[in-house]
Amino acid sequence: MVKVEVFSSPGCGKCARATAVLKAVAEELGQEKIAWREVNILQEMDYAVDLGVMSSPAIAIDGKLVFASLPSAGKLRAELSRRL
């Protein structure tokens, strides 16, 4: 199971739209293979800092910061496919 964590702040409309597109990519690859979690950066600031998140939105995969800013759907698909 690949763990994907998207760090963003509530109320960020741009993040929500972009995140929805990426979530659909993850779901296409198989919901049973990917655990998708949306992290409220304000509630989990310490965890975000632990992973090295410097700006939001950002994506960590399996507990490591992989995308410091939101990737394109293609880039996320490639990264997840590589790990599955």
Binding site: S9, G11, L42, M45, D46, V49, M54, S56
Partner: protein
């Protein structure tokens, strides 16, 4: 209207600082006298209070410039400012961690020096710093 000296006095800043802000594009006189002296209005004083407050929250002058641009932009909204603030908080949290690591490193160095009367060439703190620099030069201790 305020002269640069009066405005500096009113905002507890120096005239050099105000000129610097003007050079950085953060402040502009409302107009100049015939003799070329800068004259500022109440809006400039408000702007300077904004700059001071933002600096206290850790924003650099460049970032404050961006905030001022957002403040005057019709297309921007509160969410945009909030994003900037969240990003700044993240940066500050990273800095706090870095400072904590530095402080911890110093605690460790201090703890190895138990005899203050040793000569400098036997100082364990200097030796530890030199050793760690040598290790880094040899590519060790990076993981």
């Amino acid at each position: 209207m305020y002269t640069i000296g009066k405005l500096a006095q009113k905002t507890d800043l120096t005239t050099d600082t105000l000129r610097y802000y003007e050079k950085e594009g953060l402040l502009a006189p409302a107009r100049k006298t015939d003799a070329g002296y800068r004259l500022y209005d109440e809006d400039a004083a408000r702007r300077l209070r904004f700059i001071k407050q933002a600096q206290q929250c850790g924003f650099s002058l460049g970032e404050i410039g961006e905030l001022l641009t957002l403040k005057n932009s019709d297309a921007a909204c509160c969410k945009d400012v909030r994003s900037v603030a969240i990003e700044k908080k993240l940066q500050l949290e990273h800095k706090i961690r870095a400072l904590q690591r530095m402080s911890q490193a110093l605690t460790e160095l201090i703890s190895i020096c138990t005899e203050e009367t040793r000569p400098l060439d036997e100082c364990p703190i200097l030796a530890a710093l030199e050793n760690s620099m040598a290790k880094q030069a040899n590519g060790e201790g990076n993981g």
